[in-house]
């Protein structure tokens, strides 16, 4: 009989209950979306935000990380000793060898045009970075192609070499401008009497010193520097939480005692601060939305309680204990909370995916573990919002029948 009455109650005040349901579904949508985003942000910060660069650097012990190539270098084969996976996530490691070299575009007589660039007429000293060009997106996905050869990486995409030839190179935008080269041109690099030439495959922007560098294949740089099999440093990208990265560092330090293993602390701390701020902001919004939802439900329920006063008087007249009568209304509110919560959860997941795409460029993955949380929260909010119905406990049947209430 209980559920029979419940069904009738839900059908009897469809208009008012629709308002309650709408409030709960709206609140549930926003809360689900925010909580999902909050949880997903943590994942984004530890995984997708690796797009900002590597978070672990390996270099020669007791030597500065970036020096001229004749000192402070390590064996490039150290890359093979770095775990390719850590706690279920893929680890990327790319060696870099830096040297200072003279660069000069190779201009054929037919192409020569003195007005193009004054700098092109004389060699320019710049930093040449040898690396595994195809692996750049894994440790430096923030480096973007500005201009590339036909069929190479499109403009705005993470730069990488199409590796059509072992002599391909990538040139930073400022270096390209200074040298007066564009994709398709050839560069002559010379250092310490050694020479290497490369074909410019693309120009890139990194928003940092790389914009002034020429990136060549590691082997070419090693030849140019006269340091076969050596690297200045290895950039490693380790996905995962700060604690996971710390565990990785400890493991790597123990496994590579002759190598200095350092985290990029500034990034980790900035990441933690950003995450804490986002966390607090989202929690604050969730609290405000929750409060507003309860107030909306309460307003609708207050009107409903006026309409139900006579019914409660009638049920009391029939000997209904107030606890049993109120249970009817609270279960009704709880049912609405459950339905509103379910609708809100589904819509919230969709909303968070959309917001994720807009903010992070990747849709927030649904975190289904929040479903019980959202449903429980919406049921609690619905029951809290049904507070005016609890005031019906004070209804005196005689007063109702006398028309006093």
């Amino acid at each position: 009989m209980f559920w029979r009455i419940e069904r009738r109650l839900l059908g009897a005040s469809r208009g008012r209950l629709a308002v309650v349901l709408l409030a709960l579904a709206s609140g549930g949508t926003i809360i689900t979306a925010l909580v999902n985003l909050e949880l997903d942000t943590s994942r984004k910060l530890t995984r997708e935000f690796r797009a900002f660069g590597a978070n672990v650097i390996l270099s020669a012990r007791e030597q500065p990380a970036i020096r001229v190539p004749t000192e402070g270098v390590l064996d490039a084969s150290v890359v093979a000793r770095i775990p390719s996976e850590w706690e279920g996530q893929r680890v990327a490691a790319v060696p870099f060898l830096y040297l200072i070299a003279q660069a000069k575009p190779i201009v054929s007589p037919s192409q020569a045009d003195p007005s193009d660039s004054v700098a092109a007429l004389s060699p320019t000293m710049l930093v040449v970075a040898g690396t595994r060009l195809a692996g750049l997106p894994q440790v430096a996905p923030g480096w973007k192609t500005v201009r590339g050869l036909m069929g190479s990486v499109p403009q705005g995409e993470s730069v990488r070499s199409a590796a059509r030839s072992p002599e391909a190179c990538l040139v930073g935008t400022r270096a390209a401008q200074h040298l007066g080269v564009i994709p398709g041109d050839e560069l002559l690099l010379s250092a310490g009497g050694l020479q290497e030439s490369c074909a410019v495959e693309a120009t890139l922007t990194a928003g940092g010193p790389e914009d002034d560098q020429v990136l060549v294949p590691l082997g070419a740089a090693q030849k140019l520097a006269g340091l076969p099999g050596r690297a200045s440093l290895v950039q490693v990208s380790v996905p995962g939480t700060g604690a996971a990265v710390d565990r990785f560092l400890a493991r790597l330090s123990a496994g590579l005692p002759d190598v200095a293993v350092r985290p990029v602390r500034q990034f980790t701390e900035a990441e933690a601060l950003l995450y804490a701020r986002i966390h607090n902001l989202l929690l604050g919004i969730v609290a405000v939305v929750g409060l507003l939802t309860v107030l909306c439900v309460m307003t609708a329920m207050a009107t409903l309680s006026l309409e139900r006063a006579r019914d409660v008087g009638l049920m009391k007249m029939l000997g209904g204990p107030i606890s049993r009568i109120l249970r009817l209304f609270l279960v009704e509110a709880g049912t609405l909370g459950l339905v509103g919560g379910a609708l809100g959860t589904l819509m919230g997941m969709a909303l968070s995916a959309w917001v994720g795409r807009r903010v992070f460029g990747v849709g927030a993955a649904p975190r289904w573990e929040i479903v019980p949380f959202t449903l429980s929260l919406m049921v609690m909010m619905a029951v809290a919002g049904a507070f005016p119905l609890r005031l019906l406990a004070r209804v005196k049947p005689a007063a109702i029948f006398r028309g006093e209430a």
Binding site: M1, A12, L314, M315, L318, G319, P321, A398, F401
Partner: protein, 240 residues
Amino acid sequence: MSAMIEVRALVKEYGPVRALNGVSFTVWAGEWIAIMGPSGSGKTTLVNILGGLDTPSSGRVAVSGAEISSLTEAELARYRAEQVGFVFQQFHLVPYLNALENVMLAQYFHSMADEREAAEALRRVGLGERLEHLPSQLSGGEQQRVAIARAVINDPKIILADEPTGNLDEANERIILSLFQELHRSGQTLLVVTHDPSIAQLADRRIELAHGRLARISAAPMEEENGPLTALSRPAGASW
């Protein structure tokens, strides 16, 4: 005959207004009492107190030997569920429950709902074909018959009726009174508030109130005076 209701020096005050002022009387088990008096004389207040819907300011009310004037709210609810059946002029049915469910609601608050038994109660008042109808789909007379079925479903010790025919036309009034007569014959104790002397004639005794005081208790007229009413036919399909 044992005393079903004993009222002694009953007083009910609403602020400065004394609705009942020292009323005392006894109702015997199986009696039909007509409570009469002008508007504002305290009839409804008396019924509300007897039904446990209201509490007296002072005095004593005992039903079947148990004092009800000092019961807690929870005890009064139990008392209403188990010992009293109400019939009101306004019917007071739950609008979103159908006839069957309105009767089952009383069962639900008493103990547990029994659909078959509730349907049988409605058949006895001639509403076997109207079980699934909402109150808004029933005539006034039919709604009052649902209210009567609801009032008797838990086999209460007393039936309290406040102007049960006040909103009905003559034909429906006859049907309702016929049902009351059958209840009376089956030994049910009835207290019926009415303005109508012809209805009061059906009762065993009349309690007349005036300005909250007991003005008179009189025996009902001779049985033959009830001739026209006792000859009333039952509603179609009704059987008690």
